[in-house]
């Protein structure tokens, strides 16, 4: 019987539950100096003077370094097309561009000494005009990088044909804010660097992608690739924000070399809220047109992306938003335009969904607005416009080819599971009663792209040792997803070696030759596929060898996966175990297969969510009562892990819809820079989720698997936002921006009432 598809408990858990993991800050770090960063207190200013003298006299201070000491070039943006003049200096050079930007580093014997000494580094700032709002940035009155001549970092703008909506009976337009949010992995950034006497760098990093960090470090220090080793210890969550490495990591490495001692660093949460990238941050102008019978004919989205102070991944997110603009709908005409601007804020990077939630939020808002305008049920309007399951692979108006989908099926499942008709009846009754607490129902359908990076493959090695146990090396980078369990399931399935006898090795560039890391919901379809394929090849090779040992024709030899032994078909009594075959293979270099998977392309998971909220119309408080989620990620390897991914994604989606927002004042001072001020979602703000299973295998890879890491977030955000709007729709409200905080909902209701009063 196959182990695949079963709810196998995690092999990772006992350690985390009994001793706790070993995260960056838990490393022994014997003899290491501590690095503490002096960070800009101003959003935009010229550094007129920088005097470390006061700090050098403090107890335990070994050195203070500033940009003038560092012989490091600015950090390339890591994305094509971003001008060199916008590259980020490792430490701020002459000008600071956001609050929290590192200006200097203090090295001390003890950690607490660094906090004290950092205060004594004197920085004289001459304030410069600050740009926080992306529209102001676009206007260009104040430039962050005068040499570049504009604040526009990436430009994907396309003019709109003035006749674009000519054939539409109805056109609805809306400005939608997809607010800036903080990824908030529970573990902040942490790491340590140590240089060997041979000039080799070993760096421990809390990262999602050790191999790309290794390449970046080797490039920066002009080292051969084999002169750098990156180790990710246990990593306490990433959500896209730890793809890194960050400038602080580079300073830590440089400092360790300068001092000839290991240097370590763990930021505080308050530093992390400013230093770790933020997500989202788009202003979207949407317009949707169609006929009064519900047929949507044309859709246009204009995205203005806030890239933050130093453009990197964030400047490319609107590209994905553009490509995913039409979502699940067969809209004859789609036009998308986008550009990204720099502002005096923390840089925007990848955060769970990264560019796709923004696309889904926009089109789902558009569908609701259109439905409201023609007085139709939002679920019905969606049904009318979904891409039919008969049309896959389906190429969209924006040029993506969706692998496979059944959007109507997903929507039907979600509507049925939520008792949509019953909910509408309850809503009607409560509206008629007119009480202060009203309920809202939000429906979303979504499709997203996973494993969308240009290099869709992943590296794996599978080997069987003379002990009869196996080792799997993977270029994927586990940090909570359950790779050890999943990969040992895949290998066990092919090898017939019990999971507990399979060791999974990851997150160390000396032990794993290459890797793409974990991001973009790529692990199973790229890294898992590699393990699956390598295991099959290994069985083939072992079969050849077993045939020699059995003096049989390889074609006649089979692997008994229950016993883990090879024998001639029909004569199981004479068999060779994995241990025997692996021992025999010793003299030929062992039983070992190196493999890089090459899936034929990305996959496009899809689903439908229904959210039910209660809104207190007197206080504006919105509470999520139910969240029904259909998420189709193709064939499921381990439902336990897949559901866990969905749960986490759903919560983060709800968080954006209802609670979370990174805010700055007009001068660029962050006002949500710790977990007391930032409304990170807790258990009390969530119900238990209602998950509905649906699995449409993808033809793109042999596992039939699509990504699942980000689906929950992408589908839930618009469903919950729509539900809040729906709760007060009968009071004349058509749109409420996220987060639908009590204050915002209350204000919208006040505005709506006064608008009505003045009519």
């Amino acid at each position: 019987m196959s182990i695949l598809g079963n709810r196998v408990l995690r092999r990772e858990d006992p350690k985390f539950l009994t001793t706790g993991g070993v995260y960056g800050d838990d490393l022994p770090g014997v003899g290491a100096l501590w690095a503490t960063f002096v960070r800009s207190t101003m959003a935009h200013a010229r550094i007129v003077a920088l005097d470390a003298g006061g700090a050098l006299d403090r107890p335990g201070v070994v050195a203070v370094y500033t940009a003038a000491d560092l012989d490091l070039p600015p950090v390339p943006a890591g994305m094509p097309g971003i001008p060199e003049s916008m590259f980020r200096p490792v430490l701020a050079q002459d000008v600071v561009r956001f609050v929290g930007e590192p200006v200097a580093v203090v090295l001390t014997e003890e950690r607490y000494q660094g906090e004290d000494a950092a205060e004594a580094v004197f920085v004289d700032y001459e304030p410069l005009p600050t740009v926080v709002d992306p529209e102001t940035a676009l206007a260009g009155g104040t430039l962050l990088f005068p040499d570049h001549g504009t604040n526009v970092a990436t430009d994907f703008r396309e003019p709109l044909d003035e006749h674009f909506f000519d054939d539409c009976e109805v056109v609805v337009r809306q400005r939608v804010i997809n607010q800036r949010v903080a990824p908030c992995p529970l573990e902040v950034r942490s790491g340590m660097a140590s240089w060997g006497a041979d000039g080799r760098l070993t760096q421990w990093l809390s990262t999602q992608a050790p191999h790309s960090a290794k390449d970046a470090l080797a490039g920066l220090f002009a080292l051969a690739a084999d002169q750098v080793r990156v180790i990710a210890p246990d990593v306490g969550g990433g959500f896209g924000a730890k793809i890194g490495p960050y400038p602080e990591d580079l300073v830590v490495a440089w400092s360790a070399r300068a001092q000839g001692r290991p240097v370590r660093w763990t930021e505080t949460r308050s530093e992390s809220m400013l230093g770790l990238v933020h997500g989202r941050g788009q202003i979207q102008d949407i317009a949707i047109g169609g006929n009064r019978d519900g047929q949507v004919l044309a859709y246009r989205i204009d995205v203005l992306q806030d890239a933050g102070a130093y453009p990197a991944v964030g400047a490319y997110l609107p590209m994905l938003t553009k490509l995913m603009a039409p979502g699940t709908y067969a809209i004859p005409k789609v036009s998308a335009s986008a550009c990204a601007v720099v502002t005096n804020t923390t840089s925007i990077g990848a955060y769970r969904g990264a560019g796709r939630p923004e696309a889904t939020a926009a089109i789902e808002r558009a569908m609701d607005l259109f439905a409201a305008e023609i007085g139709a049920d939002p679920a019905q309007v969606r049904r009318q416009n979904l891409v039919s399951k008969d049309f896959f692979p389906y190429t969209t108006a924006t040029g993506f080819t969706y692998d496979i989908g059944d959007y109507m099926g997903a929507l039907d499942l979600a509507l049925e599971a939520s008792d949509y008709a019953g909910l509408r009846a309850e809503q009607a009754r409560r509206r008629a009663e007119g009480g202060p607490c009203q309920m809202g129902i939000g429906v979303s359908t979504y499709v997203e792209i996973t494993n969308g990076l240009p290099d869709a493959g992943e590296f794996a090695v599978v080997e069987v040792l003379p002990t009869g146990t196996a080792r799997v090396y993977t270029g994927s980078s586990p940090h909570g997803q359950g790779h050890v369990t999943a990969w040992s399931m895949l290998a066990s399935e092919q090898l017939g070696i019990p999971m507990e006898d399979i060791e999974v090795v990851a997150n160390d560039t000396d032990l794993v030759a290459s890797g793409g890391g974990t991001m973009g919901s790529r692990s199973l379809q790229a890294g898992g596929l590699a393990v699956h394929e390598a295991s099959m090849t290994l069985v083939d090779e072992a079969r050849q060898l077993a045939a020699e040992l059995l003096e049989a024709n390889p074609d006649d030899v089979v692997l008994d996966k229950i016993e883990g032994r090879f024998h001639v078909a029909g004569t199981p009594a004479v068999a060779r175990s994995w241990a025997e075959v692996a021992s025999a293979a010793e003299e030929r270099g062992g039983l070992r297969v190196e493999h890089k998977s090459s899936p034929s392309g990305p996959t496009f998971p899809f689903g439908a969510h229904v959210a039910v909220v209660e809104v207190d119309t007197e206080t504006g408080q919105a509470r999520l009562r139910r969240l029904v989620a259909v998420d189709d990620a193709g064939t499921i390897l381990n439902p336990l892990l897949a559901e866990g991914q969905r749960h986490g994604g759903l919560a983060q989606g709800v968080a954006q819809a209802l609670l979370e927002e990174v805010r700055y004042d007009a001068d660029g001072n962050p006002v949500t820079s710790n977990l007391a001020d930032y409304a990170m979602i807790s258990a009390t703000e969530l119900p238990s989720f209602e998950l509905v299973s649906m699995a449409t295998p993808t033809p793109v890879n042999a596992l039939g698997a699509k990504g699942i890491g980000e689906s929950g977030t992408i589908g839930s955000t618009p469903a919950v936002q729509s539900a809040v709007v729906d709760a007060v729709a009968h009071l004349g409200v058509r749109h409420i921006d996220m987060p639908a905080s009590p204050q915002r909902v209350w204000q919208v209701l006040q505005d709506s009432a006064s608008h009505k009063g003045s009519e």
Binding site: L9, D13, Y23, V235, G236, R269, G644, A683
Partner: protein
């Protein structure tokens, strides 16, 4: 200052700065790094331990305030190789992913069941409000705590 306490049943005595927080005492002085630090505003609960059987965010307490107390951290919860029912429940119901909030979450959950031996879902959610998790959406954590409540000795330390 000399501070002495029983940590996971063992007497520990060290001379520390008066300003040392309990969490730093446990991690840096005693060397028990299972207890994590996730914020600097006492918001996240990653550092939750039991002091005299009751959950405390160990960043809100000075080590000197715990002088003479019985402290239990995640390292001291299991009975030898036998996991505590709460640890078992977290494993059984996939109540952890990256593991960072887990030690604090488990300790808070054990203490919760002391106060509410048979809690409702709402009581579990409210009882864990001070412990943040970014991975699980709390769904399986709540499920684990409710399941643990049905096992004997889930609130025992």
């Amino acid at each position: 200052m000399n501070v002495s306490m029983h940590v996971n049943g063992e007497r520990r005595e060290y001379d520390v700065e008066p300003r040392t927080l309990l969490v730093h005492y446990l991690r840096d002085v005693v060397g028990l790094t299972g207890t994590n630090i996730g914020c600097d505003t006492s918001s996240c609960g990653a550092c939750t331990v039991l002091v005299g059987g009751e959950s405390v965010k160990s960043c809100t307490m000075l080590a000197v305030q715990a002088d003479g107390c019985q402290i239990t951290t995640i390292e001291g919860l299991a009975d030898g190789d036998q996991m505590h029912p709460m640890q078992e429940a977290f494993r059984e119901h996939h109540g952890l992913q990256c593991g960072y909030c887990t030690p604090g979450m488990v300790m808070a959950a054990v203490s919760l069941l002391v106060e509410h031996p048979d809690p409702t879902e709402t009581e579990v959610r409210e009882g864990l409000e001070g412990n943040l998790c970014r991975c699980t959406g709390y769904h399986n954590i709540v499920k684990a705590v409710l399941a643990a409540a049905q096992t004997p000795l889930a609130s025992a330390v």
